[in-house]
Symmetry: C2
Subunit: 343 residues, 2 copies
């Protein structure tokens, strides 16, 4: 078998991680012999998600998303082909979804959740969908919007990072539910995509001008829901402009992951007179019933063309560190995905 390579985590990072210092693509020799219950996959796709950054933080007393192990590969959702197996439930040749190392060949430990993707080789949807629109980001968008945002037709929703892995779906689903949809993103190209392709009602480039001023102009009558990916100044502006009984669906705070001293949100007191709820949630705590509903709905919508999904695919594991850092800086356009190999 060919030499394996991996993107290895080297050191906890306070500011933006640096290639070579905090993470690095390196040769790691032959994959190990499998033990009972283990599965060896040839990795096809790996997901890049902002929460991975939180696992690289070492300076807090508790790292709430868990931490990467120093000297080991990064780990995240992936899709791979089984090329060796000591797990009778997962035969060689199957295409599987599981947590995988950032490697060309990744061993899935005994007992870890593995899902066989049925008819994977015949599917009309790309394999990468399992880590995007039909995976964790899609489920986050669906569950966060429906079960936390509790949207009602006629309301207005504001979405930050609106062309990202989660935001683009939240926006399209909210449109189908009869909401007025406003998004922000960090480039004019992304704004054009939100308006022209995703049919958002309004969108603005947050790098051009004051966020609150732009938000007021995009949603002159106020907002009912804010779907937050960023925290910080975006959250402050949204709190200021939320209507009474407004909801903040808190999905992530990417703005705070790359600094030891985030600036802080200074206007939380408006939550009292406006009776605002700020609701943090984790997709991994949704239940199987919720998952089945999500998968059916979103698969149907995709096949019927009711929603579209933009991926930003980086080819080659060796390019994963730069793609990851680029995503933290908002350089990806669509769901950040690494294509490690062809099927």
């Amino acid at each position: 078998m060919a030499q394996n390579h991996a993107v290895v985590f080297k050191k906890y990072a306070v500011d933006y991680p640096v290639i070579g210092e905090h993470l690095e693509y390196v040769a790691t020799g032959q994959p190990p012999e499998l033990k009972d219950g283990e599965v060896l996959t040839r990795v096809l796709y790996l997901s890049l998600d902002p929460y991975l950054r939180a696992k690289m933080r070492g300076h807090e007393e508790t790292a709430l998303f868990g931490r990467f192990e120093i000297g080991k590969p990064l780990i995240n959702h992936g899709v791979g082909e089984v090329i060796a197996s000591k797990n009778p439930a997962v035969p060689v040749g199957e295409i599987v979804y599981s947590f995988m190392g950032f490697e060309q060949y990744s061993v899935i430990p005994a007992g870890q959740y593995i899902e066989i993707i049925k008819n994977a080789r015949q599917s009309k949807l790309p394999l990468s969908a399992r880590i995007g629109v039909l995976g964790m980001p899609g489920f986050t968008a669906y569950g966060g919007l429906l079960w936390y945002g509790k949207p009602k037709a006629g309301e207005t929703i504001y979405i930050s990072a609106a062309s990202g892995a989660v935001g683009q779906l939240v926006g399209q689903m909210a449109k189908h539910l009869g909401l007025r949809v406003v998004g922000s993103a960090g480039s004019d190209e992304k704004i054009a995509y939100l308006l022209n392709d995703l049919k958002f009602d309004a969108a603005f480039n947050y790098k051009k001008g004051d966020i609150l001023t732009s938000l007021k102009s995009a949603a002159p009558e106020g907002i009912h829901i804010y779907f937050d990916h960023v925290g910080g100044s975006h959250l402050e502006a949204a709190l200021e402009w939320l209507l009474p009984l407004g909801r903040v669906v808190m999905c992530g705070q990417i703005g705070d992951y790359n600094t030891a001293n985030p600036p802080g949100v200074r206007n939380l007191f408006v939550c009292v007179p406006k009776e605002i709820s700020i609701l943090g949630f984790l997709v991994l705590n949704f239940n199987d019933e919720q998952k089945a509903v999500f998968e059916k709905d979103v698969t149907d919508w995709l096949l019927q063309g009711k929603i579209i999904y933009k991926e930003d695919i980086t080819e080659g594991l060796e390019n994963a560190p730069a793609a990851f850092i680029g995503m933290l800086q908002g350089k990806n356009f669509g769901k950040a995905t690494i294509k490690v190999a062809d099927l």
Copy 2:
């Protein structure tokens, strides 16, 4: 009739208000002639509440609690005796609860909510209860704890400003519901009261040492609910120490009312991995059914001696400005109340 006096609002304040500059006790001449529908009250008790401070802020674009009118008396919940009436539903001699000016004689406008306190002269409970334990603060404590905090026996609740108008009730009610109750306050005398009189399980003086360190020591296994009156560093510490699925019942942010640049809450991102909800609410949006349940429960508990309620009564309207500023600085011990006159 005697000359009337009032505590008049003079100027919007950024930092702590100053007597003479922002508010002042002044003679205001004879009360005006009543018009149809109006009621003249001899004011007996007035409530001092932290939210009044928010109505003195002028520098935001929107003052969310409304604003006091410059040159007019402060207005808040009060109890008074009707001494003249052009409202047939509210006869002379009745004791009423309503919003009243900070005056000796206050005109209640036509159409404003007025409640006649039945058997007021024979009640076993003090008249001041109507603006305290049986009024807005009591209802805030009851509704905030039950309907927003959703407490379960065996959980731990942390309450800031725990000897205050709302906090002392939240703590006692939580004890009755089988929770472990932890409070903080700003003097050793208040801490002794929480532990010895209100039977809190633990309490600490937030002025002595780091809040998070004190909280960890008072609640070593974490907290499920934080009842927030303060915001800022108290909220940061609570977010850090809340358990998964924790709730922040946000009742006020007194720490932020007296500065143009509150420090900001820097760790909101923990709401995502811990799935924390931050819930702002306003007592005035509870409905009549909820009010009836609250009044029955709390009246029963008071008469049965199951809860006690400490008031910090300042005698004389002329002392109201100093008492108000003292309350903003945490100098009151119990519910801050002005006694304007004897019945």
